[in-house]
Subunit: 425 residues, 2 copies
């Protein structure tokens, strides 16, 4: 299957009036609009992309395509002023059978595409949850086909800019061109009385203005949170703050840089902990919030890597160790150091048990044994407790609490996995 990406739009509103800025190279959540289409559609089996551009943006788009390495063919629309239907016509010689047509300046989430690629004709959405409904192209349907379409049409459906078409569409585009001297996709759709397929409630929107870019970034970052893995404090506090940060950082920091930032703040927290535990504790919690951003940035900007996740985990363990060591040092010669050692060991083992479980079974420990989530002891929860007790200057109590909590959890997880293994065998 092939996909035609209509990317000859001139992005005037995004570039402040210039014509040489290719709109599809604008970044949403750290990734170019065009890259998002190619990556997500490629993963869904598209074999070649026909990218239609205008003469002024040809060069930068060609460079980007070569850099990314997806299979593509660049087609130039010498007269973009004749409309995006004219762009579609330029792809005529390069497609066959059924193919996708995608508005290059739109953003779609994966769940949208999963459904849309199975559809027929124009993909429409009844809710238009994420778009500016006044500005949007509305559609009036009759018997599952388009009767009318346009910005000012009183339709109850929204045109998502995603099409599943065959070559018949070119005849309609030709006819419109002859008749009007120019050709927009909406004219073609109307003339063809295109079938429609509903995909409602998924994230998609078109990007026209810098405000749209920001909104799109916000939506995508918010959707990047993994459903599992978060402890209570993460869900209630940390995620809300880290998402706000990620929205602002995603175009500026790589995931690894975000990891490093969180680690540096964590090490700084450790440094302070041996002098002023309250200050150290607060910084520790700040680093815990920052620790959410690397994953959010990685997922929303499509820069996830196994190595990045690994590095983040190891650095978290280093920070946890150095913070608890510092708390112990703060207590001076009177410290019950075995309690510090137990707190260090138990804290590490929370992560060790679940990572070792994933290594052994390729499954998630918390999904297999949900009871563990109620026992708690995950990093976000531990750090929040530490901050709280550090502010109250209850350092010894803090270390005792951690030592008992995490090692009780260790005993529990040993028992629960052993029981599960016995049942399974």
């Amino acid at each position: 299957m092939k996909a035609v990406i209509l990317a000859a739009g001139q992005g005037r509103r995004l570039s402040g009036g210039g014509v040489s800025f290719p709109k599809v190279l604008a970044k949403v959540a750290g990734r170019e609009l065009l890259y998002r289409h190619l990556k997500l559609l490629r993963e869904r089996g598209v074999e070649e992309f026909i990218v239609v551009v205008n003469p002024w943006t040809k060069a930068p788009i060609n460079d980007a395509l070569l850099r990314w390495g997806f299979p593509f063919r660049l087609v130039i629309n010498e007269r973009p002023e004749l409309g995006n239907g004219y762009s579609l016509l330029q792809a005529r010689d390069y497609v066959d059978g059924t193919f996708f047509v995608v508005m290059g300046d739109h953003v779609y989430e994966e769940a949208f595409l999963d459904e849309a690629i199975k559809g027929q004709g124009l993909i429409v959405d009844r809710r238009g949850e994420f778009i500016d409904r006044d500005e949007a192209t509305k559609v009036i349907l009759q018997d599952g086909r388009v009767r009318d379409i346009g910005k000012d049409v009183p339709g109850e459906w929204y045109d998502t800019g995603f099409f599943v078409l065959d070559r018949e569409i070119f005849d309609h585009a030709e006819a419109v061109l002859k008749e009007k001297g120019k050709v927009e996709m909406s004219d073609v759709v109307k003339r063809a009385e295109l079938r429609v397929t509903e995909v409602s409630g998924r994230l998609w929107l078109d990007v026209d203005t810098p405000q749209d870019l920001k909104r799109a970034t916000r939506f995508i970052v918010r959707r990047s949170v993994k459903p599992t893995g978060d402890g209570l404090i993460s869900r209630v506090i940390n995620r809300r703050l880290s998402l706000l940060l990620s929205e602002r950082l995603v175009n500026r920091l790589s995931p690894n840089q975000a990891s490093l930032l969180s680690t540096l703040v964590g090490l700084l927290a450790s440094l302070f902990a041996s002098i002023s535990p309250p200050l150290g504790g607060v910084l520790y919690q700040v680093s815990s919030i920052l620790d959410g951003t690397d994953g959010e940035i990685a997922r929303s900007s499509m820069k996830e890597s196994a190595f990045g996740g690994w590095m983040d985990s190891i650095l978290d363990r280093v920070v946890d160790f150095s913070f608890l060591l510092s708390l112990g040092l703060f207590l001076g010669p009177g410290v019950s150091w075995p309690v510090v050692a137990l707190a260090i060991f138990g804290s590490l083992m929370v992560s060790y048990t679940s990572e070792r479980y994933r290594a052994a079974t390729q499954r998630d420990l918390y999904e297999d044994i949900p009871l563990l989530l109620r026992i708690g002891g995950k990093r976000d929860e531990r750090i929040f407790l530490v901050m709280f007790l550090c502010i109250l200057e209850m350092i010894e109590e803090c270390l005792w609490a951690l030592a008992l909590w995490t090692n009780a959890r260790l005993l529990a997880v040993l028992f629960l996995v052993w029981r599960k293994g016995r049942k399974g065998a």
Copy 2:
């Protein structure tokens, strides 16, 4: 594809003269001979097993087959004294096309079966490395077919007891039966001038006597060592001893019991470490040797489980922690406890980094970055060093050495994985 398992042999030499003991239920390395055939052939695509038994061993074999749950059909040879060729004839109505015939009292390793199932006719071995060559059935070949076969035949090939046949074989068996009044497989093979396929140098042997059982167990246990994963001390010292132990324990202990034994000795070592480090150190090394047995027992007795491996890892971490804690306690109030903490943290992180790597990539850290093996610091190596320094009563030096070694390794692994990630990206 189906497989006929000839299991009507009476196992007199294994049971000390009784006739009711089914030879194929004798255990080699913790698993019944019959179970080994079924498990390994099932994994290689066999859909049904025709198990030919004698009237006296029918009941226990039927019970075992029901318990194991492989798809089977039990066929009774009412007159086992007529030879194993007569057993084969009993399977006549239940097979079609090409099928395997396997001597139930043989043991084959996986590598043998991988090749044998692709063969034709009788599988022969030129080397007979693992068998009693005098007692073995020899084969003389001509043009890739059997010319003569028998114990006293001066052949240079050994009959492995594994056949890939079609229904023609039954006609030959019938003919031999009519002629001689009884029918052995070797007579059938000779009359059919069966094609042969060579599979040489793989582990296979037949089990007749209690001595054979022991030898087979020894060979299988020795083959159960995973090629990767062992540190220097394991390869040079621990494995040799743990294999000797596993040979003796495999029919007595489950893998989990072996894990538990190693853990208990390790905890005992920790207890002693705070009183007498030399004694503790030696016990620690003993537990390290025992720690090899659970995996060996699990693999050689086909009782591997993800849960078992997980449990073993967690318990190893608990033992390491408690031993180092005890060494710290031995030093009394003058202890530099942060060094103990560093040694504990660094030791844990050796395992954490590699398990987290496997969780993230499903690959082995040491295979991806072999340099790490030269840096060392794996558990077997650490424990050996600890024992050595404990015997010399150099406890502080021991803790310093561990703290420096393992944390230097941690820095190295962070750098090496980071570099690998950059190259890959």
